[in-house]
């Protein structure tokens, strides 16, 4: 299974492009998609899922051009949109059965998968409750369950961990990673730690443009040796902000602990530390700007 994206672009109006000239080749595994708000992540995902037609370029699923045969992707697609919603008067189980029918599952398969997925997303006990009584986190977990219903070969999840508490967030991202061996998972999020924990490759986009697409490990390695931590005064922190991408700050009684990316020690007593994906992400975005 292979998803290929060739020079893809979406124009909303004259001079306003949601995304432009995106080219990617994605095989089985988890592929993280990160970028600032308004970068075009959701637009890209809506095109990949055939919800929005591209203005230019093409998408191929296993060599078939999706715009010509959208059914080829739809039959193997699982999708959790960013603005996921449900029919409020249905119970969770009824809703999942509804989606299973739309996804073309027979009733036996649907029942078995609903059962297992309710267990996976930890909602078995509320299967008979109406969806309008669900909290935001429960609602999001229901969204993940419906996306996995048809055992998709292409799973596109847009901000799947929004609204989940830390424990559920870890559970969900691990579940996505566990099921990724034999499918293409595209996972968009603002939480870079989720990508680092699960993704085989990372795609960073900003202002609709592709900044980088690389294996997670190599992206992290690209900033290896360039990440420092030091304790500085607040006034020094302001100076550092002007010169370096600041990854993190922690307030202390005698100053501020700062984590930053620099090609050499920013101050004499700065300590070199292990790089993370967030460091790599910040440097990539900062360099682009």
């Amino acid at each position: 299974m292979r998803l290929e994206i060739e020079s893809l672009g979406k124009q909303y109006s004259e001079g306003l492009w949601g995304v432009r000239d995106i080219t990617l080749r994605l095989g089985a595994g988890v592929h993280g998609l990160v970028g600032p708000n308004g970068a075009g992540k959701s637009t890209l995902m809506r095109m990949l899922t055939t919800v929005t037609p591209p203005t230019e370029g093409a998408i191929y699923w296993d060599g078939t051009r999706v715009s010509e045969s959208p059914g080829v992707v739809r039959s193997v697609l699982g999708y959790l949109p960013q603005d996921f919603d449900t029919y409020p008067t249905l119970t969770l189980e009824e809703y999942l059965e509804y989606v299973a029918a739309l996804r073309g599952l027979d009733s036996e398969t649907a029942s078995a998968r609903v059962e297992a997925l309710l267990d996976l997303v930890n909602l078995t006990d509320v299967r008979d409750r109406r969806l309008d009584t669900f909290s935001g986190g429960m609602h999001q977990r229901a969204g993940i369950a419906q996306a996995l219903l048809n055992d998709p070969e292409l799973l596109v999840v847009d901000e799947p961990t929004v609204g989940l508490d830390p424990e559920e967030r870890v559970r969900m991202r691990n579940a996505l990673a566990d099921t990724a061996d034999d499918r293409v998972v595209i996972f968009s999020t603002h939480v870079v730690a989720d990508i680092e924990a699960t993704a085989d490759t990372v795609t960073i986009i900003e202002d609709g443009q592709l900044l980088t697409h690389a294996p997670t490990e190599s992206l992290i390695q690209s900033v290896d040796g360039d990440v420092y931590e030091c304790r500085v005064s607040r006034s020094t922190l302001e100076q550092l902000r002007q010169e370096f991408p600041i990854c993190n700050t922690v307030q202390r009684a005698d100053g501020v602990d700062v984590r930053l990316v620099a090609e050499g020690p920013p101050i004499t007593d700065a300590e070199q530390v292990t790089a993370s994906l967030e460091d790599a992400y910040l440097r990539t975005v900062t360099h682009a700007n």
Partner: protein, 560 residues
């Protein structure tokens, strides 16, 4: 106080901006302009039925055009304005605006006052659009000099106060759970019809001075006002004129003509409009009582439910504890390993894709349409189905009974039909549907499910109709089964809301199946409509709407 006024102003401003930037208000204005055109171009107008001669209508002078436009605007505002004005609270609720408002210390009365001001602004805009169109119409089709003031001011005086009342009622309905949905829209429709029909309580051949005060007080559209204003002009043109009612319609063709050149308006009408505004303000204040920020459409019922242990809904925390007992653990990301969660869940693979078939989609759509209705609806539908089937089986039906039952079958499933077409957009399900195996099939399944429910509810009635009216009654059955779900599907798909369908459909149902207007008799209630094949025309239109709606969905899903 000043802060509250500023708050109300900005609530009104934001609400009005949201409205004027939506297509719905533009469509409403287009409808208003079109009706104004019909009224003031002579295609359709106000006429008086005369008991002792041909009907009477007026020459289109500036004063009469202004009066006609005011009446047309009032009628549109009364019947359609409610459906346009009522989305205000729902919109704020849907877009999560209430928490922001609550945290800003805006009181409920101030919030509702802001909404009321926005409604008034919509009324002023409507009147301005209609008055402008009337001036243009008069310059083309009118008689005598075009007097913009004489044409415009009646429109404002008649339409704007009525907007205050209609908008307030829309707000009140929006705050009461029972009235917030389809039932409220039906209830309003009948309330408006009741107000209109109150004018028929005027005694035959009464001179204006003898018209009862109650009739004047309920002159919501201005029919009695028109009679009062034009009475002398009609008498001058038609000596011995005896009439009791002004009507909208085409009955003025080949009629005698009077010429109305204006004159002082009666004080009672200004008092009536002032009273309308006062009632509107009072209703707005009453709406503040049941209004609940955090359950905007829950209202009184919602509050009572919150205070009583009716919902034994476990909290999410309790649910999690019950379903997934956790041992104390470090919940930081790194502390929870992949193997610690989810390993015990085995998900069976999907071996056959696309094996479900359209029948399963139809089944789930049927279930979805039938879910979430009030209990009394199920009871009524069950009674209607069982009683009519019982009558049919015992051969006890009459043509009269069939007509009555057909009228009922033509309206009871409205609650179900309203769910067709719009709900995927309304509940944000579109991405799931559009990316599914059945993007167009889902739409068709909704429609078939609507038709099937109509058949089940009406089966006994249809049997009685065929038994008493012969095979030609099947024409009516076809119209009734096909047309309402089709209109619902198309209107719902194109507007993303059930309101247009409900407003159009209730109007058709009132004129056709309920009152026997054969031109709108899509259900075969009238012998004349059936003999002319009117229901078949509606059925054909219905099928056409479904085809166009399906093509619309095909285009949406990049299939067309």
């Amino acid at each position: 106080m000043r802060t509250d006024v500023r708050r109300a102003y900005h609530i009104a401003r934001a609400d009005l901006l949201a409205r004027v930037r939506s297509r719905k208000l533009l469509i409403f204005f287009a409808v208003v302009i079109y009706i104004g055109y019909l009224i003031n171009s002579g295609s359709f107008g106000v006429f008086y039925t005369v008991s002792n001669g041909p009907n009477v209508n007026g020459a289109l002078t500036s004063h009469l055009v202004g009066l006609n436009a005011g009446m047309a605007g009032s009628a549109v505002m009364l019947l359609a304005g409610f459906y346009v004005l009522r989305g205000s609270l729902e919109r704020d609720d849907r877009y999560g605006h209430f928490p922001v408002l609550t945290s800003s210390q805006t009181s409920k009365p101030v919030y509702l006052l802001g909404k009321l001001l926005s409604n008034i602004a919509v009324g002023v805009l409507t009147a301005a659009v209609l008055a402008g169109a009337a001036v243009v119409n008069h310059s083309i089709y009118g008689v005598g000099a075009t007097d913009p003031i004489a044409i415009s001011w009646p429109v404002f005086v008649m339409v704007v106060p009525l907007t205050v009342f209609v908008g307030a009622v829309a707000m009140l309905f929006g705050t009461i759970n029972l009235l917030a949905g389809t039932f409220g829209r039906i209830a309003y429709f009948f309330g408006a019809i009741f107000l209109l029909s109150a004018q028929s309580a005027r005694p035959e051949t009464a001179v204006p001075a003898a018209i009862p005060t109650t009739v004047k007080a309920l002159d919501i559209v201005g029919l009695t006002l028109a009679y009062d204003l034009t009475f002398e002009s009609i008498h001058a043109a038609v000596p011995g004129f005896e009439s009791s009612f002004a009507n909208f319609g085409t009955g003025g063709s080949n009629a005698q003509t009077f010429r109305y050149e204006g004159g002082p308006w009666p004080a009672w009408f200004f008092a009536q409009r002032l009273g309308t505004v006062i009632v509107g303000l009072a209703v707005t204040l009453v709406a503040a009582l049941p209004f609940n920020w955090f359950q905007a459409t829950g209202g009184v019922v919602g509050k009572v439910r919150q205070r009583l242990p009716l919902d034994e809904t476990p909290s999410e925390t309790a649910t999690q504890t019950a379903s997934n007992p956790q041992t104390p653990t470090d919940t930081t990301d790194s502390a929870v390993s992949t193997s610690a969660v989810g390993d015990d869940v085995t998900i069976p693979p999907v071996t056959r894709r696309g094996a479900g078939g359209f029948r399963r989609v139809l089944t789930v759509e049927l279930r979805r349409l039938l879910r979430g209705q009030p209990r009394w609806w199920y009871l009524g539908a069950g009674l209607l189905a069982v009683v009519s089937t019982g009558i049919a089986l015992t051969g006890g039906g009459t043509e009269e009974a069939a007509r009555g039952l057909l009228s009922l079958v033509a309206v009871w499933p409205l609650f179900v039909w309203s769910q067709i077409g719009s709900q995927t957009a309304r509940h944000g399900i579109r991405p799931q549907v559009l990316t599914s195996d059945y993007p167009v099939g889902q739409l068709v399944a909704e429609w078939i499910a609507g038709c099937l429910i109509t058949i089940v509810v009406g089966a006994g009635t249809f049997a009685i109709a065929v038994a008493t009216g012969g095979p030609t009654a099947l024409i009516g059955v076809a119209g009734l089964v096909i047309f309402p779900p089709s209109l619902a599907l198309a209107a719902g798909l194109w507007t993303g809301s059930p309101r247009l369908f409900e407003a159009l459909y209730l109007g058709l149902w009132y004129v056709g199946p309920l009152n026997g207007g054969f031109v709108a008799d899509f259900a075969g209630v009238t012998a004349r409509g059936t003999s002319l094949g009117v229901p078949i025309v509606f059925a054909a239109v219905g099928v056409g709407l479904v085809v166009v709606a399906a093509q619309t969905r095909r285009v949406y899903t990049n299939l067309g």
